[in-house]
Symmetry: C2
Subunit: 339 residues, 2 copies
DNA sequence: ACCTGAAATGTTAGCGCTAACATGAAAATG
DNA sequence: CATTTTCATGTTAGCGCTAACATTTCAGGT
């Protein structure tokens, strides 16, 4: 009356099998692998040899189920094609992997709806923590995390509302680069924005603040397009801008892609940069230092945001309450020849 | 004599709890969620309502453990900063997500060693299948997969050795674009290569084949650098190349980044493109069609490689033996003004 | 010799879920 | 109306692992 044996996943070698081969119980194998100090040296050596010989592969699902810790972190980023987030991802990975944590990457495509959906879907993995881009999730988002008791770190921007965040003030950065253009004697400074996510809008706020303070704000000089930014778009926007406002003498582009497109358009139109037109970008991506003329932009600590956020999250997972703080990593205005 | 209750992960609501709330057993809840046709409509509605009300989140680890299927696919790609692989990733995701599969992304950094390490690490998740970039893994790689009975699909290139692959012939593509340059009357065609992964080397093979057939091969015209490619590198290589070989009248760059760098260098050096110097790239990334002059390049079906590979893998996981075939998705030479 | 306590290993139970088999009721069949 | 089939649901056991407690061993102190 024996039942069919159930399916086995993987190679079918379990801790129990390894234990049998060495003459110990499964728990000792578990300890040899994950808390080596609790097993005598001789035994541990024999066990590790057997693990190798039998080709034992631990089963993470079983481990997660039994220990109630998945050793997994969910990372939500708006895009995989934007270098900014890829750099951050690299920083995150460099901290999480050595710590034995697994990254689950969710691409929100800049959509709050998709972000919420992804959170729900990935919660099934019982992540031990979540790294989120930006601060403008719906209230439901934080509630869900709260209910499951999952710590989160918010990346890229700052807030004083008590959430744990790592980044820099997008608004201050926008203000700083605009002020830089003012200091260079520019009087009709335009803003070129695409994607229009929360970070772009905050940079726009900073731009407005700087210009208003100088008494030079003109809403007509704002060119906003919700579509994802491309170099082409930057070129088009610049052409449009100069047609409508021939007196415009500078433009702050919300990112380097737009700025490089704008630069190319100036060259095509025969406008000298920076003499006739100053151009500033944002992020200091690799090409910014390389185009002619080199692009004035704002260098952002993307990689470090990743490492710091990951570190904070790990501390938070470990229960260190003081990990829940706001980390301002700052930014640097990079004055180059385009302004 | 009661023990401490064990930790609970997540919200603590289980299928059993949902069942209690509705007055059914846990297995009925399971069926209502995953094989709805096996539960009556009335009951299913009640169960789903309770799931919502209680905020039940399924536990994927438990599911994977009990069913021996993780609904997870491992994707190994060489880089997250190369648009080529990001596009492929997008294709993969667009097929896997609707099918309920979870992607685990492993970044190999173009290293066979890291690739093997990643495979071993991610095997702990008991992936149901693996998507791999390229064909030149060590024999150990395929053996490991074989032993665990995990199907794999190899992306980007073709092979006749029986492995399931989706891509196009990198060699044929290299040959085709080189022939295009020959047909445009070029006689001293250089090759500029970076990163030097297997795909670049195959394109180089194709380049050599075309030039040898035309009796115009000269090993001195090959500029190879194992470092990751950048626009800067393309510019440097072009300058170097022209210094050493002033008679060089065309260059096939192994990717668009190098080509755009080379283009910029020509402009800086005052060399007319294509009159004095023809330039061809590879991949047809967005900027290729947009720089001046527009770049001749080879369009590659990156997104479709992703969707097809994912589809094949799913079929393979489902046990459809005929899924193990080679899919040639072809490529298209895009003649533009740079040649 | 006895006790104490730390170190090394084992036993038991259960994490949340689903495969396999079992049961009971309703519907279809002769 | 008895019999078979189908459908809807339940029971049992176990996936592989580890928390919690239990036991054994042995060093060191008295």
């Amino acid at each position: 009356m024996s039942r069919k044996p159930r399916l086995r996943s993987g190679s079918g070698v379990t801790m129990h099998d390894v234990g049998l081969a060495v003459g110990v119980s499964a728990i000792t194998v578990s300890r040899a692998l994950y808390s080596p100090e609790r097993v005598s040296d001789t035994l541990r050596t024999k066990i590790l040899e057997a693990v190798d010989r039998l080709g034992y592969v631990p089963n993470r699902s079983a481990r997660a189920l039994a220990s109630a810790r998945s050793q997994t972190v969910l990372v939500l980023i708006p895009s995989l094609t934007n270098t900014v987030f890829i750099d951050t991802l690299a920083g995150i990975e460099d901290v999480l992997r050595p710590a034995g944590y697994q990254m689950l990457i969710g691409n929100t495509h800049y959509s709050a709806g998709e972000e919420m959906q992804l959170l729900r879907a990935y919660l099934e993995h019982q992540p031990d923590g979540v790294l989120v881009t930006g601060l403008s999730q719906p209230p439901e988002f934080a509630q869900t995390l709260e209910r499951q008791g999952i710590p989160a770190v918010y990346m890229m921007d700052l807030t004083a509302d008590g959430r744990c965040c790592v980044g820099f003030s997008q608004e201050d950065a926008g203000e700083a680069i605009t002020r830089h253009l003012l200091e260079r004697g520019r009087r009709r400074i335009a803003f070129m924005g695409a994607q229009l996510d929360e970070r772009v809008l905050k940079r726009l706020d900073g731009y407005r603040k700087a210009l208003r303070a100088a008494g030079r704000y003109d809403a007509a000089l704002e060119d906003l397009d919700p579509a994802p930014s491309t170099m082409q778009m930057g070129a088009d926007a610049l052409t449009r801008l100069l047609q409508a406002h021939p007196d415009c003498d500078a433009v702050f582009c919300c990112n380097d892609d737009l700025a490089i497109g704008a630069l190319a358009a100036c060259q095509r139109l025969g406008l000298a940069v920076p003499q006739r037109m100053a151009i500033a970008g944002f992020n200091d991506l690799q090409p910014a230092g390389w185009v002619t003329p080199p692009l004035t932009t704002v260098a952002t600590p993307r990689y470090r945001i990743g490492t710091e956020a990951a570190r904070l999250l790990l501390a938070s997972i470990a229960g260190e309450a003081d990990a829940v703080t706001c980390h301002d990593l700052g930014f640097t205005v990079m004055p180059r020849a385009s302004s």
